[in-house]
Homo-oligomer: 141 residues x 2
């Protein structure tokens, strides 16, 4: 997932958000990160080019991006938040041996689940989104 700075700029202004160097840098960092970065990962990554960014700013920007649906939080069982720049429906592989969380995109699975829940309504609950967490381990190298 690699967007040019120009594309990122457009994403921000489409949402009516002011385009600032901090927001560009944070979105860029999330997009470039193969994994699902924590706030700390993002801060560290950005500081190489932008040493003066404040941690508070990063959290505020992330909140703004989430509110504007440019970024999602990833559900984990750890106590630090992780962020994800992929917006289309996708799933996650959680490695129980490490802290790696990989994206898993599988449209066939999405179709299967859509069909399944079309025929198996849950009484009193309206489904918006179905996310599968696959927990296991990556092969050792």
């Amino acid at each position: 997932m690699n967007f040019s700075i120009e594309e990122i700029r457009n994403k921000l202004s489409e949402k009516g958000l002011k385009v600032t160097p901090q927001r560009l840098a944070i979105l860029d960092a999330i997009y470039r990160s193969g994994d699902h970065p924590t706030a700390e990962n993002i801060i560290e990554y950005i500081r190489h080019r932008n040493p003066n960014i404040a941690a508070g700013t990063v959290y505020k920007v992330l909140e703004t991006l989430i509110e504007n649906k440019l970024v999602k939080k990833v559900y984990t069982d750890k106590d630090v938040m992780r962020y994800d720049g992929i917006l289309e429906n996708h799933h996650h592989l959680y490695c129980t041996d490490s802290d790696i969380i990989k994206d898993y995109i599988d449209e066939e699975l999405d179709d299967l689940l859509r069909d399944y829940f079309k025929n198996h309504k849950i009484k009193g609950f309206n489904i918006n989104e179905v996310v599968v967490q696959l927990k296991g381990s990556f092969d050792k190298p």
Copy 2:
């Protein structure tokens, strides 16, 4: 889910854990809670009968219970941890309007997913557990 104190006592000693009033009370609180309690919920519940329990103790006991697979952490996008006493494979309904997380047990879905992933191996990843997060909203009363 209602276990007698005697059953809870057995669960602990089967794992080689010392049976203490605190551990009994905490497991009992989790089992009795219909929802998925936070540490704070548990502390509050227990204090009615056991006013002297320390917060630190509750966290330590929870960690021990998780290590011994008597309790699970629930993945959320919030910054407080929640705990779950159901051990068999099950899924969760996340309400986007409230903080309610309900259990969703569906063996037919489990079978469907088991078949699906039997035929769709993920290269380099060994699946141990498949958990579905259903995000949406409960009907208003």
